[in-house]
Amino acid sequence: MHAFKYHRPSSVNDAAALVKGEAKLLAGGQTLVQTMKLRLASPSDIIDLGTIKDLAGIKSDGKTLSIGAMTRHADVAHSAEVKKAIPALAALAAMIGDRQVRAMGTIGGSVANNDPAADYPAALLALNATITTNKGKHEADKFFKGMFTTALAADEIITGVSFQVPRRAAYTKFKNPASRFAIVGVFVADFGGSVRVAVTGAGAGVFRQADMEKALAAKFAPESVANIKVKQDGLNSDMHASAEYRAHLVTVMAKRAVEAALK
């Protein structure tokens, strides 16, 4: 790892003021520290968000569920509040990485990083989430801009994520057996009248599957999506899975997600 200057700000404003040049914000560090060790990232400055108060926490008012940016995956997975409001979201958090990683990794870090195979972006997109930052708010639909890219400005810091509570929802993931990242993951959310389907792992970034959303809005049942063929154009192809295979998995995972949501 290359040398850097370490900062420990006590507020989000102080943290934002420190962002300059090649500085990087550090949340849980479960991606960033490893990336730095491999010298894929060599920031000049590390701004540790870990000691800023009030960035972690979970609140629900029945219609929306709000999670602070520094809330760890394990805390989301075990939260009674999350399990009650959106059990699919607690289940998703419990599927991220392994339990040691879940003890450190944060929702804000995952969302800001926007790994194309990460789990949380699918939940944000399917649950019509709002991302709150020190500068304002972003709708999930306009936030994820493809591989490792988001609508965040350089000195913009995520403070929390608010999810719309659906009538029912489920997330199913076909895991890479080594990394536990999604080869394909599908989050289905039924809001009663409208349905949102978000796919992670398959493409350069998370995306919605409009034809499935339409079919499920008409009838929320596994057979509504079972025969929808997903085009392989633009999907990822690598040593783990071809684009053709990933396209097929989107349909399979969507069908299973609907089955799980109906249980």
């Binding site: 790892m1 850097f4 200057k5 560090g29 520290v33 040691q100 003890a103 450190m104």
Partner: protein
């Protein structure tokens, strides 16, 4: 530039002058000379570096020492009683021969203790899932899984 990091390790307050880029595992092994915490893969896959931080199992190769400032850390050296009596989880690993070469064992035990605190009577399937972040290249996991089940039940029984 050197910075000072202060934390509690195995109940003792310690501090070290380190470079800012120093990993927690490096402080534990090289500054504190507690070499029971191992570095296996160095890429967050294998879990040999697992320690307890503020009561939670974390991978000490995946965090900066500075992220542990003020934290209460326990390593494998702090698990047995001062008189050498093994922790119930350690005793279960010995009893069920949950190891071969032993390299992964400290990380296995540290993760297992944290897991067992919340799961006093885990099923085999639950244990295998809890071991996602710990790799063993010798055993095929069979006796490790047995040991963790027995260790968890012994911990719950207060042995």
């Amino acid at each position: 530039m050197a910075v000072k990091v202060s934390l509690k390790v195995n109940g003792k307050s310690v501090s070290a002058e380190v470079e800012e880029r120093t990993l927690l595992v490096t402080v534990i092994r090289e500054n504190l000379r507690l070499t029971g915490t191992h570095v296996g893969c160095d890429t967050a896959q294998c879990g040999a570096c697992t320690v307890s931080m503020n009561g939670k199992a974390v991978k000490s190769c995946s965090m900066l020492a500075m992220q542990a400032e003020g934290a209460d850390v326990m390593t494998i050296e702090g698990v047995a009683k001062p008189d050498g009596t093994l922790h119930p989880m350690q005793a279960a690993f010995k009893e069920h021969h949950g190891l071969q070469c032993g390299f992964c064992t400290p990380g296995m035990v540290m993760n297992a203790i944290d897991y067992a605190k919340h799961h006093p009577d885990p099923t085999e399937e639950q244990i295998r899932e809890a071991l996602e972040g710990n790799l063993c290249r010798c055993t095929g996991y069979h006796n490790i899984v047995k040991a963790i089940g027995a260790g968890a039940r012994a911990m719950a029984a207060g042995k």
